[in-house]
Symmetry: C2
Subunit: 425 residues, 2 copies
């Protein structure tokens, strides 16, 4: 070959990074495009929202991951289209030619056809989501402290998490601990321990992907922490004043959305059919039907596993897809036939709170302190480098021992909302 093979990867999440790592040091010219300059360790993003960690603890510059790999170019730009005929990706008004294209763009939040709920119920996808949620939570307490109206004060101290999956459970647990422990002595006019943390789930149990006894354990643990768990209750409306859950209206200023995800981008760019979650159906080699040179991996791909189950939108699944596609490309270049993709399910983990977590590995199920340690070890192990791991360990240790939160910053605050002139305090 005189002309080098060009691979374009869109998205530097777990899937995209895995492809690039496997192609590093090869003869292939790799271009990795992302609209952000960092790779985010999303499973711990909720800890930024609850002021446990700083953004830089769990996000790393993509360039830094490939400094030494001369065959990998990182581009900060936003893809707007793919030109299948010309085999080019369009991003920021420029065109990037490819021989193989990997779309690993992940997913965003789904508001079940109610996009108007989004401003009142941010989800946890990007760093700015997490810092926005952190700001809303901390400001709710601040505003409650100086509120002159008792009804408004109670409303400000209600916090509603929507969605009983791992993210919702983790947020609710951390939120309860924030209110009941970390902030307990910091206010003079309100009692943060009186804050109401409500976790709303439309289904009949929390953590639907886990064994039922672990779901039940999670519910009991959260209730012990003071979380109100409402099951079988779909959210009917979200607005400035609060959330309509079944027949009840919960007045609140802080709603956090963890109820559903939806991929966009690949389906639209390719003109491909998608399922309700926006996922593009791919073949056994993760390529798009009719386009063996285009692959979709991770949250944006619809891959069937064990006959009828969908491969879940988890980091390990995206990584496996990424590593597999890198092998397919190498095989194709060597005129070998690649074996079909086989997803290997490792297990599911969810943190609940201090000394409480659940882990479901099929036959092996863990709960309580053991699962909590396991959760911590796995997450530290998966962090990208020793620096991040040490920093996070240190912040966790400090938080565990002092029961304080280290990253309680409200940034980007001006202008502050101004209360109508009330009675003198």
């Amino acid at each position: 070959m005189t002309k080098k093979t060009k691979v374009v990867i869109v998205g530097a999440g777990f899937g995209g990074i895995a492809v690039a790592k496997r192609l590093a040091g090869s003869d292939i010219e790799v271009t990795l495009i992302d609209r952000r300059n960092y790779h985010l360790f999303q499973p711990m993003l909720y800890q930024v929202a609850t002021a446990d960690l700083s953004p830089a603890d769990i996000a790393w510059p993509i360039r830094g991951l490939f400094s030494g790999e001369r065959n990998i170019a990182v581009v900060l730009s936003e893809v707007t289209a793919t030109d299948k005929a010309a085999r080019e990706v369009v991003a920021g008004g420029r065109r990037y030619p490819y021989d193989f294209l990997i779309l690993a763009t992940g997913s965003g939040n789904s508001y079940f056809n109610h996009p108007e709920w989004e401003p009142y119920a941010p989800g946890l996808k990007r760093i700015i989501d997490a810092t926005e949620i952190r700001k809303r939570i901390l400001l709710a307490f601040e505003h409650a402290e100086i509120a002159s109206d008792a009804t408004e004060q109670r409303r400000l101290l209600n916090f509603v998490m929507v969605g009983g999956g791992p993210t919702g459970v983790e947020m609710a647990g951390a939120m309860a601990e924030l209110a009941r422990v970390a902030l307990a002595r910091d206010f003079r006019h309100i009692d943060p321990k009186a804050a109401r943390v409500v976790l709303v789930e439309a289904g009949e149990r929390l953590l639907a992907g886990f064994a039922p006894d672990l779901s039940e354990y999670a519910r009991r643990c959260l209730e012990k922490l003071g979380v109100e768990v409402q099951l079988g209750q779909p959210v009917q409306a979200v607005n400035e004043q609060g959330v309509q859950v079944g027949a009840t209206f919960i007045p609140t200023a802080t709603v956090i959305w963890a109820a559903g995800v939806k991929a966009d981008g690949p389906g639209q760019w390719l003109g491909a059919e998608t399922d309700r979650g926006g996922r593009v159906a791919v073949g056994p080699d993760l390529a798009v039907p009719g386009h063996p040179e285009i692959f979709v991996i991770g949250d944006a791909a619809k891959v069937i596993w064990e006959g009828e189950r969908l491969v879940p939108g988890l980091a390990p699944a995206a990584k496996q897809g990424g590593r597999y596609v890198a092998e397919v490309i190498r095989a194709r270049l060597e005129n070998r036939a690649p074996p079909p993709f086989r997803y290997r399910h490792v297990g599911s983990l969810a943190m609940i709170g201090r000394n409480a977590a659940v882990a479901d590995f099929g036959k092996l199920k863990l709960r309580g302190r053991l699962a909590w340690w396991f959760w911590g070890l796995v997450h530290i192990y998966l962090l990208i480098n020793a620096r991040a791991a040490t920093l996070v360990l240190l912040e966790w240790a400090w938080a565990y021992l002092t029961r304080k939160k280290g990253a309680r910053l409200i940034t980007g605050l001006r202008p502050l909302f101004v209360e109508p002139a009330g009675p003198k305090p």
Copy 2:
């Protein structure tokens, strides 16, 4: 006394915190008002701008500093006026009565009557300033990497620091190291080492507050790091395209302002006379003439020292003022006459770069590696708690050993600027 004495402190910088700490545990009802929820360790803020540290490493929730002190209430609100007759402070539409008022509001950037320069030349005062500057610096490299026009590419790789005081020197040194070392291998189309870092100072030497030989040493060190130092050159204009310095126009997209500060707030609220820097002249007890119950401390106060010199706008000066005012209040309540305020100048420190700093303690002058160690030790010692100190030490050690920067995040990025459709890459 049946009625408790009320002290209102406006501003939770070094001065305000010092007053509150000295009044903690007393019978006095203290209200500490700040428009932000954190106390910022400003001397290290430039390290957030250059991606060395995270905001939470050098900023702590004010509430957390006084959790256990029941006589101190923290209020997140923005003061808009003081009512001297009623002895009340107005903030967020509410009124806070006081027996003693301490205004410790610090200073903002001064653009020498050119407020129109501000959007193009942010200063380093708040956390959002530092993250904004970090974003601009990192985006300049990102945009240069994909720029199709060579002139524009060169413009993007020019970085101009205005002001040769400690902040300007520290920014210029850290900026040069960022470009020449940390980013050196991370791009494929540009060479970050070719970035031009220019430090512009209107006066005849850098670090005017230091001994002349230390100024000269700083200049030589910076030039060794690749910084262009331009002395005796006032800035004539700053706009979207660059900076006019004397007769030369430097095209750039990144200007950082460290040329002057100005206090506002107290002078206006009190209707008091101020100097050109917005400082309120106070008496020997730091009280406002005619109002023994109102004190101004820190950057916002004009205090004369050693006959004619102004007490400098440094953290130690603000702290000394704060501690002193707390003693004055205690003395007044006990009908004692307080001694006049005496400023004790500790010395001046400025970091230049790896193994290079300057320290001027009058008789004792340090430079080079020894001053560098000293700078680090002093700053670690001054950090608010063991957690912060450990985190910062760890980040510094990692950066020193690997020569990488740990906090290279561009957040709040959408929408990305879109380049006009150019030729294919």
